[in-house]
Amino acid sequence: MAEARTAERAAQGEGHPSGDERFALLDKTLRKARYQQDQLIEVLHVAQDLFGHLSEDILIYLARQLKLPPSRVYGVATFYHLFSFTAPGRHSATVCMGTACFVKGAEEIVQQLEAAHDVRSGQTTEDGELTVSTARCVGSCGLAPVVVVDGVVTSHQTAESTLAHVGEVLAKEPTEAST
């Protein structure tokens, strides 16, 4: 039955007017979830992976596809911490604020990062280069304090070592982008 519905959609030329390929991938996920409303969170995860963040446009699109009121989709998306509604920076530095990292001085690292890059935790620098955030325990407590820079876990950090590392990562980008 799901196929029949999909075929109907395709015949009506549904999909996204922008022609953005990522919507095709999102549709594939929706089909795999058989448009079941209880799969909303799974679908939101995929949408965020594809687009980097959840824009209003996407939330409305998903609401239509799953036949849910937009308020419900928005309500769920805003409830969970992992969903983000603004575009992330090109680089990310996530300071673990689990108890073990806190005990070993993670707060200091956050403060210094915020000060050095003039950004609040959870936000992106004005030039869109760096997103600074905190996490609730990445589960590497034996290596505390831990900072995840561009997805790579760095262990036994201090404010100085983190700043130096983040500085390096930021400095590297232009050459890579130009090639």
Partner: protein, 566 residues
């Protein structure tokens, strides 16, 4: 119908395959070791084996967590018929030497050997983590060779569902998620519940910051969790199961999904499991970052694709749970205990632990300790043994100040309570709780009001906002703690704080709110003087502290609400 796995055949051929190698080299590939550089180490091991042309004699096995995360990356060399050796802080260079010297010419690299007779290892008792660090979690054959799925086969063939519940009841197994509810009681309630289908949920939403027991179990031995779930479903009559995992644990999700696929192909899931007439469908569901989803009613809301807000109990999930159907929620660690209990019997399990708290408990040992990592210890072990024998004491000649157990719902235990046993009843009596098993040790450089503020900030952020006491209470308590910690708090702030603690505890809807004051109350119990030292003294005209009444104050910033909780 899927083909049926022949457990004996698989175990036999796996053991035969193993015996073809003269040496098996196990490389810890768990998250902690990977962040310490285990990836390149494994590559170096493989390359060195190839270069030395010992490929056919040496098997390099990527395994799960070996426990001592602070000394990672860990590598264990197991020569056939000889004592195994563990190496600590292995770099690619040392890995190459391990193959060239230890494996080829049988010469140990002494300076990197980690003594496995030290208390960190010898004081542990592994049931749940029996396979962690020993097998390749991505191969079902490895699990079967260690006796995996035998308990399930035995239960399906020889035991009625009621008999399985009886075994669990006799074993005295209690929920490992924190509260310690007798597991068999829950199972029995689901078994008796009317309605179909019935659901079974494994709670892997380990949100306590500083804890990673469940993640390790799911990542390192996914089939153990699955086997435990199948047995639980068989005993209770559940036909659908969900494993709810935090989105922060992508490796756990990946391995569980793979394990479920493999198990289904081998006739261990789906229809007619192992040739019986018992069916079970299993699915992984991913959270999206909400601590409250560890609470069972909130967790179910999340599985249904809604906001993870808790609801009032009763009705309990076993009466009315997922989509209104009877549902049972067990913690991942609880379920991981089940195969071993069914295989070895209730009596065997009951030999470990205390009269009220049987078996073992996995703890994530972290903070100011020489050895940090993942440990599994018999219940009833004293805190002192955990901190000083297993943990190796406080580094840099520091002084033990407190151990925090139970995360944001638990409390701090001071040095005077080091000799108290670690079990459900004892910890609760001391104002803390077992919790899911995070154990963070603090030395005397830590100010306890700061710790309380840290946890309160966590609860403030994580409050789902459904009930007022938790939503606004955590904001107010955090603001008061903030004033006290910044040195501008007054005696009255402390009084407010204490009264709020009582209110929030008594009137919140769910466990998150009811337990949110715990870190404050327990630090106040044991370290009250630290709070008092931070207060601004109330001065009277003659310069001494007045008894009554306190000086009228400027408008209290703590009373104005500082935004919503989310």
């Amino acid at each position: 119908m899927a083909k049926q796995i022949d457990l004996h055949d698989v175990a036999h051929s796996e053991l035969e395959m193993r015996s073809r190698y003269t040496t098996r080299v196990k490389a810890c590939s768990s998250t902690a070791c990977l962040s310490a550089g285990a990836g390149p180490v494994r590559q170096a091991l493989d390359q060195a084996a190839e270069r030395e042309d010992v490929n056919s004699d040496v098997q390099v096995v990527p395994t799960g967590c070996m426990g001592m995360c602070s000394s990672g990356p860990l590598v264990r060399v197991e020569p056939r018929g000889a004592e195994p050796t563990m190496y600590a802080q292995v770099t690619p260079d040392i890995a190459t030497r391990i193959i060239r010297e230890h494996v080829v010419v049988r010469k140990l690299i002494d300076e990197h050997v980690l003594d496995e007779d030290q208390p960190f290892f010898s004081r542990q008792r592994k049931i749940v983590l029996g396979n962690a660090g020993r097998i390749d979690p991505e191969r079902i054959e490895d699990y079967v060779a260690e006796g995996g799925y035998q308990a399930l086969a035995g239960a399906l063939n020889d035991l009625a569902p009621e008999e399985v519940i009886e075994i669990i009841d006799d074993s005295g197994l209690r929920g490992r998620g924190g509260a310690g509810y007798p597991t068999a009681k829950k199972w029995d309630m689901l078994r008796r519940a009317e309605g179909s289908p019935k659901y079974l949920i494994a709670n892997g939403d380990e949100g306590d910051p500083g804890a990673y027991m469940d993640r390790t179990i799911m990542e390192d031995d996914p089939h153990r969790v699955i086997e435990g779930m199948i047995i639980a479903a068989y005993a209770t009559g559940a036909s659908h199961g969900y494993i709810y995992v935090r989105a922060e644990y992508p490796t756990a999700v990946e391995r569980l999904e793979r394990a479920i696929r493999v198990a289904r192909r081998q006739g261990l899931l789906g229809r007619n499991i192992l040739g019986s007439d018992f069916d079970l469908q299993l699915e992984v569901r991913i959270g999206a970052g909400a601590f409250v989803c560890g609470e069972e009613t909130a967790l179910m809301a999340s599985i249904e694709g809604r906001r993870g807000t808790p609801s009032l109990r009763p009705p309990y999930p076993t009466e009315k749970g997922l989509w209104g159907q009877p549902t049972m929620i067990n913690n991942v660690e609880t379920l991981a205990n089940v195969p071993a209990i069914v295989a070895n019997g209730a009596e065997w399990f009951g030999e470990v632990g205390t009269a009220q708290s049987k078996g073992t408990k996995v703890f994530a040992l972290a903070g100011s300790l020489v050895n940090t990592g993942l440990i599994e210890v018999p219940m009833g072990i004293t805190l002192r043994e955990i901190v000083f024998d297993i943990g190796g004491g406080i580094p840099n000649d520091g002084v033990f100040k407190a151990a925090q157990s139970g995360g944001p719902s638990g409390g701090c235990l001071p040095a005077s309570l080091l000799d108290s046993p670690v079990d459900y009843e004892s910890l609760r009596k001391l104002g803390s709780m077992m919790g899911s098993g995070g154990l963070v040790v603090m030395d005397d450089s830590m100010r306890m009001p700061d710790v309380a503020r840290f946890y309160m900030e966590f609860c403030r952020e994580e409050s789902c906002g459904k009930c007022a006491p938790c939503r606004t209470g955590t904001v107010q308590m955090h603001a008061l703690l903030d004033r006290i910690c910044e040195g501008v708090g007054r005696r009255r702030d402390l009084q407010h704080l204490e009264s709020l603690c009582r209110t929030v505890r008594q009137t919140s809807l769910c466990g998150l709110g009811q337990s949110a004051p715990n870190p404050v109350v327990s630090t106040l119990d044991h370290f009250r003087h630290e709070y008092l030292d931070l207060l601004v003294p109330d001065v009277s005209y003659n310069g001494t502290a007045p008894s009554v009444p306190p000086r009228p104050q400027a408008p209290d910033p703590a009373v104005t609400t500082k935004g919503g909780s989310r």
